[in-house]
Amino acid sequence: MGSIFKKYSLEDLGFNVEEALGLYRVIDEDGNVVGEEPKVSGEKLLEMYVFMVRARILDDWILKLQRIGKVAIHAPNKGQEAVAVGAASALDKGDWLFPSYRELGAYLVRGLSEEEILDRAIADADDPLKGAEFAIYGNREYNVVPAPVPVGSHIPLAVGAAMAAKIMGHKTVVMAIFGDGATSRGDFHSGLNFAGVFKAPAVFVIQNNQYAISLHVTRQTAAKTLALKGAAYGVPGVRVDGNDVLAVFSVASKAVEKARNGGGPTLIEALTYRVGPHTTADDPGRYRSQEEAKAFEKLDPIDRYRKYLINRGLLSDSEDKRIWGEWGLKIEDIVKKCYNKPPLPAEVIFYNVYSKPTWNLIEQMGELRESLKLLEELGLEVE
């Protein structure tokens, strides 16, 4: 007699396990085409390159500013530009992005300017987030939501936004980017589960740079791949070479299109490598070998993409130099400008806690002002 309980087989899975275990690629390390190129204009292809270059230059500058104490802390992006730029390039203007803290390229693609990113990094008078937090970027104008520092806590927010868009009948797609480490947090679990159950128009991009500070991804989870984690939620997982901007862009574009058309969420695992330290406060020498890092440094996504563009005749060496040179100068000018901006006033402490300050905050603002006066009287400085 058969059971009342259903039996399933691989075919019923509704989930392509091969995609979650494999590795989607478009160009190899030498820029040769090994997969299907995305059908977009040469202009768009070049644009992605420029975003990667801008991200690299900006990353370098923020690092420098951190070293001289002008920026509190920075999480280097180097070597991971293809994930951020490839993924964000798949979104439409009206779509929403919930990034993490290591995606300068994505912020630029969405429209944030170098200047506002630097205002944020420095937390100067023009800081759009009013000195709330360090190393976190976003702007409502471009539907880029500033991340919470607790890793992965933004994932349910992204799912909620996606569900809201669906409920309100919008065609918005919401993308969340987070690291391999974030997949261990409860928020990944609840977020992906809601997305699966409610078929949220969401795209999840795991930027698997193989480390969460010192922990290698193979100690983060015993799952064979992170894309496979989608199986736990009925969310298709796709594994992609994250140093191949075209592969990331292609996979993300398909996922975005699917989500927009009511096909539900996708979990993308983009394999890359954190070439630098976790942040400017880290020392990777303590936990990984020089050789490992060296091997991955050779896979630089910008070099690789440059080779492809040159192969395709979309870029020449001199044009390339011009791009680096021009953006180098532009960004240097912006750095100089931001460097000299005044600081935020002390009252920002009380900004935006509630829609209107509650009575305790009003009392405490009084205390702050009185203390500032007293400090002056005493001729003391505490900062």
């Binding site: 987030l129 309100m168 928020d187 609840s190 977020g191 809601f194 509630y354």
Partner: protein
């Protein structure tokens, strides 16, 4: 004017607000056809459908996190936590996102949503169906905390919360869900956030309390009035944060004696903050020590809960202390 209990009052608040504004949705465990385990959301899925009345998977972190994202996008979610004792999985979402989203995005985003759920003891619910955990939220800047003690306030405060611009933790003493009935206006009205209610005027001592303890305070006030002729003023805070300090000060100007009564554990219960605030700013008004009658500093017990919670004897003891000082 219909006579309703608190469940009905809350239900009508939700229903009227959802009719008024399509952005308002309800989500939580079993809030759909089950109507919530206390039936606060009964009938809503039938009227508004499963897109606006959402049965969620079993994860409080997911409920609050997802609701926060929904609110940031433009909906107005009312999220139910089946018992408020289960909210802790969501604590990171509450502390990290819900309470700070406005500040940490420089005012670009806000998440004015309601997290509501049954709280407090008295129904033999044991350790995890009886907690009064308002302190955790009051200590977290960015949140409004509300606890009604009667149907009228429940409806008016829930409407005010829904129409507000800040996230609200809305705590409903489950023992009052069906035990207190009263006439309330049929249509629209509001009880403003931040305003307490004088339950009973008096001149000898002030009891500041909230939730189901309002009734214990009332009962005790009658006892001491008949026994000793003490005239007790009772203030129901209603909004626990930002609490209505002015009403307390006004009352103290009259009575000079303060007893604070709450179910939450004594240590760092809201009573501590109120006492400290008075001892800091209005100590000259005091004719006696400030007495706190509160839940004991233990997990909420299954047995003897009425001895654990402030009761008539313990409130009487508190009043005696301030009256005999």
């Amino acid at each position: 004017m219909p006579v309703v209990n608190m469940v009905q009052a809350l239900n009508s608040a939700l229903r009227e607000e959802m009719r008024r504004d399509p952005r308002i949705i309800v989500l939580g465990e079993d809030v759909g056809r089950r109507g919530g385990v206390f039936l606060v959301t009964e009938g809503l899925i039938e009227e508004f459908g499963p897109e606006r009345v959402i049965d969620t998977p079993l994860t409080e972190a997911g409920i609050v996190g997802v609701a926060t994202g929904m609110a940031m996008y433009g909906l107005k979610p009312v999220a139910e936590i089946q018992f408020i004792d289960f909210i802790y999985e969501a604590f990171d979402q509450i502390v990290t996102n819900l309470s700070k989203i406005r500040r940490r995005t420089g005012g670009m985003y806000s998440a004015p949503l309601i997290v509501r759920g049954p709280c407090c003891g008295g129904v033999k619910g044991g350790m995890f169906h009886s907690q009064s955990n308002e302190s955790y939220f009051i200590h977290t800047a960015g949140l409004i905390v509300v606890m009604p003690s009667r149907p009228y306030d429940a409806k008016g405060l829930l409407k005010a919360s829904i129409r507000g611009e800040d996230p609200v933790i809305f705590l409903e003493p489950k023992i009052l869900y069906r035990t207190v009935k009263e006439e309330i206006p049929d249509g629209d009205y509001i009880v403003p956030i931040g305003e307490s209610r004088i339950v009973k005027e008096g001149s000898d001592a002030t009891i500041v309390t909230w939730g189901a303890m309002v009734y214990q305070a009332l009962e005790t006030s009658k006892l001491v009035e008949s026994k000793h002729g003490w005239s007790i003023e009772i203030i129901d805070l209603r909004t626990l944060f930002p609490y209505d300090k002015d009403s307390i000060i006004e009352s103290l100007e009259k009575t000079g004696r303060l007893v604070i009564v709450h179910e939450a554990p004594k240590t760092l219960g809201l009573g501590a903050e109120i006492a400290a605030y008075i001892a800091e700013n209005y100590i000259e008004l005091l004719k006696a020590p400030i007495i706190r009658v509160a839940g004991f500093d233990t997990p909420f017990p299954l047995v003897h809960e009425k001895l654990y919670m402030p009761n008539i004897a313990r409130i009487y003891m508190g009043l005696s202390k301030v009256m005999s000082y």
